[in-house]
Amino acid sequence: ACGSGGSSSSDGTLKVAAVIKGLDNPFFQSMEQGIKDQAQTSGTEVTVQAANSITDTTGQADKLTGLAGQDYSCYIVNPISGTNLIQGMAQLAAQKKTIVNIDSPVDAAAAKAANATPATYIGTNNVSAGEQGGRQMLTLLPGGGKVAAIGGIAGDVTSGQRIEGFGKAITGKLDLVQTVAANWERQEALTQATNIMRAQPDLKGFFVANDDMGLGVARAVATAGKAGQIKVISVDGIKDALTAVKNGELDATVAQYPYAIGAMGMEACQAAAKGATLPATVEAPVEVVTKANADQALAATPKPFGTYDDPFKTLSGS
Amino acid sequence: MSTLIDVAGVSLAFGSVQALKDVSLTIAEGEITALVGDNGAGKSTLVRCISGIHRPDTGTIAMNGRELHLKSPEDAREQGIETVHQNLALVEDLTVWQNLFLNRELVHRAGPIAVLDRRGMRKQAKEMVATLAVNVPAVGSRVRRLSGGQRQAVAICRAAGFRSELVIMDEPTAALGVQETARVEQLITKLRDDGRSVLLISHNFDQVMRLSDQVWVMRAGRCVAGRRTSDTTGEEIVGLITGALSQ
C-alpha cells in the first residue's frame, strides 16, 4: 500500500521508531540489537519501545499511539496480537508513514479495514517452525510413542501455531497425549513437566513453545532421572538454549533469528526511505539446531549461521 | 395499659455461652419500661433480639399480640421499633446528618428518579441535634471527630426523631454530661407523653426509679423479676440484681 512516504527529518537523517513485544525474554533483546546495529551502519536515528509483558496488548497499543504523533518517518511494529496495534497503525497510515511489520503478523482483514496495511511483513512462519520441530522429534523417536506439548499462556496465538504445526508433523506417527499452558515461565514449565511425567510414565518427548520454558522442561527431565529417555525440543534459539543443545541437555531447538528479523526490519525502513518498493512478505530464516550444528550456531549467534535470503540488502543498497 | 411487646421463653447461645435463658417479659404500650442487671447479664443481647439483629434460638417475640418473625433490623424498623445501641452503631466516616437520616433519607422525587434532598436533611438535622446536645457538633462534620457524648446524642436523636411505636435505649446517658442527661430524660418523658413506648436499659437507679413505670431485672441470662416501679425501692432492685433477694 504505502511505502512511499520515506521523508527524512529536517537534518537529513532517517528517524525510525520501533514497538516490539516483551521485555523479559532475551528473544526480544536480540531483536532490538538487530534493529540498533542495522541503524548504526547507516546513521539512522532509532527509538525502540516495548510492551511491559508479552500479554500487555493495550499497553503496547498505548506506546504506539504515544509515538505516532512524533516525527518518525518509519515505524517497525511487532504486535502482540493480530489486531492490538491497528488503531495506532490507522493513525500512521493517515499520515502516510511507512509501517514495517516484523515477527508476528498484523491481521490482514483488520489492517485492510483500517486502511493500514503494512508495507512489508518480515517474520517466521510459526506453523512451519512447529512442523520442523515435529519432524525433528520424528527422527529422534523412530519407534513412535507418547509426546506432550507445553505452550505459553493459554490462548496465545504464537504458541498455538507452533503446537499446531508440531501436531501436524507428527500425526499418525507419534501420540500427542497432553497439552498444557506454562505462561512462558521456566519455573511453571518445570512444574508442569514434572506433573506430566507422573501422569504419563511412558512419555517419550516434550515439544515446548519457547526456549526459556524448554530449559525448565529439560531440567525437570534431568531431575526425574530420565535424561536421554525423554526428548525435549523447543523453539527460539536463544544463546542458553544453544549451549544446552551443545551439552546434550536439550535435544534440539528450532532457532529463529530475531536479530535478523530486527535488522531486516530496519533495512526495510532504510530501503523505503530511498523510495524502493518493498516486497509484501519476507520469510525470516528458521534453522533446526541439534548437537551436530550447535557449535556453529553458537559461534554465529545472535546472527544466523547459515545463509539466508535478504531482499532488502539490494533494495537499501547497503 | 395493653401489652405492646411480649417476649416469651427466649433463649440464645453464642457457641457455648448461654447469653439468654428462657427470658419472658412484657413491655406495655405508652409506658417507660426499664431493664436492669449486672454487666454481662444479657440485657444488650435481649435488645438485639427485639431489634432484629439476633434471632433467638427458641422462644417468641410478639407485638400487639401478633408474633414477630424479625429477619433483620430492617424488619424491626418497619414494625416501628427504633433502637439506640450500646455500641452506638454510627457510621464514623459519614457526617452527622447522613447518620441521622441513614436509611430514612429525604428525597426529591421525579418519576422513577429520586435525588437526595441534602439541604433539607441538613436543615432538619441541625434542629434535631440542637434539642439534645449542648456543644452542638456541626451536622456536616464526620462522626469520627465527635466526642463520646456528642456521638451518644446523635444516636439518640436518630432513634427518637422518627415516628416509631417503641424506642429502645441501651444505656443512653452513660456517656452524657449533666445537662445532656437532663435533656435526654426530658426527651424520654416526652416520648411517653406522646403515647410512644420506651425500653430503657440503665445502670443508674435514680434514673430508673424516676422515669420508669415498670422494671425488669436480669441476672446471668435470666429475667429473674419484674416490679411496678411504684411498688418497689432502689434497695429491692439492687437485691434482685445481685441475687441477695430472690423473686
Binding site: D56, G66, S81, G82, N84, D107 | P73, D93, L94, A138
Partner: protein
Amino acid sequence: MTTATVSEHHARTWTSQLKDVSFWAEWAAAVGLVLLVIVFQILNPAFLSTGNIASMLVAAAILVILAVGQTFVVATGGIDLSVASMMTLGAVAFGQAYANGWGLVWSCLLAVAVGLAIGLVNGFVIARGKITDFIVTLGMLSAASGAALILSDGKPVTIVNTFLLKLSTGGIGIFGWTVIIAAVVAVIAHVLLFWTRFGTHVLATGGSREAATATGINTANVKIAVYAISGLLAGLAAILLIARVGAAEPASNTSFLLNSVAAVVLGGVSLLGGRATITGPVIGALLLTALTNGLTLLGVSQFYQPLAVGFVVVLAALLTRFQK
C-alpha cells in the same frame, strides 16, 4: 459559641480550605497529575499537543470505566479482582456472537449482560455465602478467564465493523467517542454515589457494616449491587476494548486489574471502605495513562520504565498521606 460551629463557618471560606490538609489529600491525584504534566511538557513539548492529549484520553477511557466500577466495590470495603477477566469474557462473548451473525447491537448487549451476570454471581456468593471478597473475585478471575478460553477455543476473533471503527477513531474535537462514553459513565456514577439513597447506603456499608445493618440497610443487597455495577461496567469496557484492538481475544489483561485498583487508591479512596469519590479514581486513571505516555514520549528506555512507574506511583501516593 461552640468550637464546632466555628468549624462549620470556616468550611465556607476558600482560603481556610487551602490551609486544610485534608483538602489537599482529596485533590492529591489532581495535584500529582498537574505536576506530571508540567514535568513532561517541559521535557517534551509534543506532550501537550492536541493530538497527544486526544490519544491519551482515548487510551485512558477503558481504565476510567473499570476504575469507576472498582470504586463502588472498594467503597463497600470489597475489592474486585475479576474486573479484567470479566471484561475479557465479555469481549469473547461479543466475538462469538458477532462471528455467529448476531449483529452489532445484540453482540454489545450480550457483552454487557455477561459482565452483569458475572458481577451478580460475585456479589451473590460474597453476600450470601459470606466469603471474603478477595477470594471470591480471585476465584472468578481464574474461572472467567478459563471460560473465555473455552468459549473462544483460545483463538482471537477479528471484528471488522465500521461502526466500532468509528467509535474508536471518531469523536467531537479532541474528545473521542470512547472518551465521551467514559465521561458520561463517570458523571452518572458521581450522581449515583452522592445524590441517591443507594450511594449513601454504599458508603454506610463500607464505613461500618454493623451500623448499616442496624439501621435496617440490607447490606447484602448493597454488596450484590456494587459487584453488579462493576460487572456491568466491565461488559461496557469490553465493547470499548474490542473497538480499540479490533478483535475479541481471550487475553488476560492483567494490567487492567492492577491499574484499576491503583487508580482507585491514588484517587484517595480508602481500601477499607466508607469513603469514596468518583473524580479521584478518574484522575488516578488519567495519571497512570499520562505516565506511560510521557515516558514513551521521552524515549525512556524500556527497562527503566517500570522503575519510573513504580517511583511516580509512590510519589503521587505521598501526596495523599495527609488523609486520615
